[in-house]
Symmetry: C2
């Protein structure tokens, strides 16, 4: 992992263009120029941002790239509890604790911006907007986990993959439509770990969806071909849900 260095406020980590909105993440609408002391960290694939039982001190906003968050089951196996893309906030599951309950690793070259939690709390005392934003972030995390819970509780492999692909698409580039290209920065095994499936099942199911003409799969790239069918499989209404973009320029 490269050494942390000063973050340039108001500059996007990915394209090095100034952020006209100064929006750090979709959850925390925070003008970076108000908090000039934030540092950024650059990670390569496999680098850990934090580890289970390490001290919890900061949240991290993903500015470019992507991360996985993993937990250990009591019998020692590892399971992925979430993927975090550009604009997402990592580390919320350990708020209020001394130590992290999960580990976070980069899936590819990734830049994150460090937000010391004590700093946020301190600002929260005086700025009610930050206070409210913290509650929104925490409860947003709760709801993301609840929807994963619904997915794992009742959906079959095909349906899980369909929902996963639509979620990835809409978190990345906006409404998932026919022709929308999705980049999956994670391996089949990582997808399986997150969706409660074995990697072979992930592979099989993606192949099946490809055979049926619903999607087109080339390695880690997926293109949606039949949006309606995909949404049908995912158990969704055919109407795409509006979702805020990650970072606006």
């Amino acid at each position: 992992m490269m050494a942390p260095r000063r973050c340039e406020p108001g500059v996007c980590g990915k394209c090095a263009q100034p952020c006209t909105l100064g929006t750090l993440s979709r959850d925390l609408e925070l003008d970076l120029r108000q908090l000039p002391e934030l540092r950024e960290r650059r990670l390569a694939r496999g680098d850990y941002l934090f580890h289970t039982s390490g001290n919890f001190e900061s949240l991290y906003a993903v500015r470019s790239g992507s991360m996985k968050v993993t937990m250990l089951t009591e019998d020692g196996r590892e399971q992925i509890t979430g993927f975090f893309l550009q604009g997402d906030l990592v580390g919320l599951d350990s708020v209020g604790l001394r130590q992290h309950v999960s580990s976070a690793a980069a899936l590819e070259d990734t830049v994150v911006c460090e937000l010391p939690f004590a700093l946020l709390e301190r600002h929260g005392q005086s700025v009610p907007r930050i206070q409210a934003a913290l509650f929104r972030m925490l409860s947003g995390q709760i709801r993301r986990e609840l929807s994963t819970l619904l997915l794992l509780g009742s959906l079959r492999a095909e349906e899980r993959l369909a929902q996963f692909l639509i979620d990835l698409a809409e978190r990345g580039v906006g409404p998932a439509e026919c022709g929308t290209a999705i980049w999956m920065p994670m391996t089949r095994e990582e997808i399986g770990s997150y969706l409660g499936l074995k990697l072979e099942t992930v592979s099989r199911t993606l192949s099946k969806l490809h055979r049926e003409g619903i999607i087109e799969v080339v390695k880690r790239g997926v293109r949606i071909r039949q949006e309606r069918q995909l949404r049908l499989l995912a158990g969704m209404n055919p109407v795409p849900a509006a979702r805020p973009r990650a970072l606006a320029h």
Copy 2:
């Protein structure tokens, strides 16, 4: 549902004895005498405390009885996302929103204490301890959901039931040991909905554990017979984890 009435501060809803600690719930260590305006609600089996898309206004501390919280999948099926026993706090998944994202219904005769969220927020501005308690409660909810997520992601029916039973036992009466009696206020179908299993599988698996002498099942009552075996199945270390009691007197 019976009409809400004034709650008697410092008096336990179950045994009508004064609470010597004044502890409302294990999450929110709050002296009831500081907030004399709290009201309680009495529910019978099946009564709803709140509904999806109803206005979110309060959290509820379960003083006696038990509740289930359910969500609707996008295709209309209902799934239980959590059971809440004496001392638990219901409603955290909608914090920061206008409307509830879930519904809560009583599993048996139940008494809850209403905590208007606006009141908590107001107190949180001035009393940092309440502020911190709110964060702890939210992140505690996150972690409970994460452990359910691990369960649904990788465990088989037997393992899920084992973990479920141990969790129920330890949330109720303390460390789960040989001889510990567990009361399950929910139906087999509700257990199945929560654990991602069909009710027949729940039934089959409980019977199997009974046949093997690990537990004893009489309707909704379960007695642990071989604690080690049960913990082994649940993928836990044989050492019982210390866990705070719900309400101390």
